[in-house]
């Protein structure tokens, strides 16, 4: 019984979203505002339990006195204070006069991840690619890959006007880009329809149980 009620709720919400395909309407507005509210509450709670509580609150408030934990990764309570503080600094944004303090946390975060991002990108997208694309032009497929790559890179070359050889290469690049876009567009159709089939079978099978 309980499940039936919940399934019905799910079904009604599902239909309200689909009603959007006809036109914007109260049902859709209802669904839209509902999911925004629910997800806001959801993430607030989940983030607290998954990150704040275990990594800040617990270690700090247990003040693991007497334990020898010192140094990074040791989960020492005083280390847990730092992110806790950074988090609190963010909240200075609620008070316009000191709002700029929040930039400190932002700086740490963005800076850290900027540094973190560079090397892996270099490795996966450039270095590895050099190895993968150093292909002798001895087979049709190799030619396809090398020409396509050259063309695309030429298209993304900003330092010169696209004329002469560069222009020609860039044109080749556009050809490859367009084929690529068309292909992956067509390739995606199937999985998108699968999603729809999933919802329809929820309505017809799980809810109405007519099939």
């Amino acid at each position: 019984m309980g499940t039936l009620i919940w399934t019905t709720i799910g079904a009604i919400l599902t239909l309200s979203v689909y009603s959007f395909l006809y036109k914007d309407n109260p049902f859709y507005k209802f669904a839209e505002h509902l999911v925004v509210g629910i997800s806001a509450g959801y993430y607030l709670v989940i983030y607290y339990y998954n990150f704040i509580d275990p990594n800040v609150v617990t270690p700090v408030f247990q003040l693991r006195l007497g334990d020898q934990a010192i140094g990074f990764g040791s989960g020492a309570w005083w280390l847990a204070l730092i992110p806790g503080l950074l988090g609190l600094l963010l909240y200075t944004r609620f008070f316009p006069r000191v709002a700029w303090v929040a930039r400190w946390s932002l700086g740490i975060y963005v800076g850290g991840y900027a540094g973190l991002g560079i090397s892996p990108v270099m490795q996966a997208r450039v270095i590895e690619q050099i190895g993968a694309n150093a292909l002798p032009l001895t087979s049709v497929t190799n030619v396809l890959i090398v020409v396509g790559l050259l063309g695309t890179l030429a298209y993304f070359f900003f330092s010169m006007k696209h004329k002469g050889i560069l222009g020609a290469l860039a044109r080749v690049g556009i050809v490859f880009l367009m084929v690529g876009f068309g292909a992956s567009f067509g390739y995606t159709v199937m999985s998108r329809i699968s999603l729809l089939i999933g919802r329809v079978s929820f309505l017809l099978h799980d809810w109405l149980q007519v099939v």
Binding site: W6, T7, G10, T14, Y18, L21, K29, F30, V35, G37, S39, A40, G41, Y42, L44, V45, I46, Y48, Y49, I52, V56, F72, G73, L86, G87, F94, W100, R103, W104, L106, G107, I108, Y109, V110, G112, Y113, A114, G115, G117, V121, V126, Q129, V146, G148, T152, F156, F176, L177, M178, V179, G180, G182, A183, S184, F185, G186, Y187, M190, L195, R199
Partner: protein, 214 residues
């Protein structure tokens, strides 16, 4: 002062993280791990800013009775309910009200929104795939071949033909070569863009995310 300190912090942390990639030493990686965790915690804490903004915007809507304010009440109410069930007095375990609301309201709503794509991908194809130019033509033809090659009917059309003339084979070939070559190119270019931007951030040249120049 207001800008120098955060930029200094950005620089130090950025460089440290950059170095970490090349140094297997425990001390370094442990520190890096710790700092990564700080990042996730800062983000987790930030959600409160978002929710604050959400409340402010909808609260004003309600107070001003600007159109659709009724729905704003809905948003705030549903959030409050979630918070109530998930609060210290509630529980988020499996079977809890919190979990039920998530599973039976947020999940179906989200996956239905997702499935709208099935409709939109069709309407987009109808209106966008026009032979306006040679490029558009390529886009169109590639899409059609791949779409046919993906479904049994496509296979059916070209059964009997030699393997290298069948639509499925053509599809796989297009995906594996022209498509891949083009995407490799985009990714490589984008990677350089990312690194240049990353460097600028670390050096404090790029600082718009801190809000303009002053």
């Amino acid at each position: 002062m207001r800008r120098e300190i955060p930029l200094a912090i950005t620089f130090l942390i950025g460089v440290f993280m950059l170095v970490d990639f090349f140094v297997p030493h425990h001390g370094v990686s442990a520190a890096a791990e710790e700092m990564k965790q700080w990042g996730t915690i800062v983000i987790a804490a930030s959600i409160l800013l978002g929710v604050g903004n959400l409340i402010r915007v909808h609260f004003r809507k309600i107070r001003r009775k600007s159109d659709g304010w009724g729905y704003s009440i809905m948003t705030l109410a549903s959030m409050a309910v979630m918070l109530y069930f998930g609060g210290p007095w509630g529980t988020i375990e499996e079977g809890s009200a919190f979990n039920w609301m998530f599973l039976n309201m947020q999940v179906p709503l989200q996956s239905t929104m997702f499935s709208l794509l099935a409709f939109f991908i069709a309407s987009a194809a109808y209106r966008a795939f026009r032979l306006r130019s040679a490029e558009a033509g390529l886009l169109l033809i590639a899409a059609i071949i791949v779409m046919l090659g993906r479904v049994p009917l496509g296979q059916f059309l070209t059964r009997g033909l030699p393997e290298k003339a069948t639509l499925p084979w053509l599809t796989e070939t297009i995906m594996a070569y022209p498509n891949m070559a083009a995407f490799r190119g985009i990714l490589m270019g984008a990677a350089l863009g990312v690194m240049a931007m990353g460097l600028r951030i670390i050096l404090g040249i790029e600082r718009s995310y801190l809000g303009g120049e002053k």
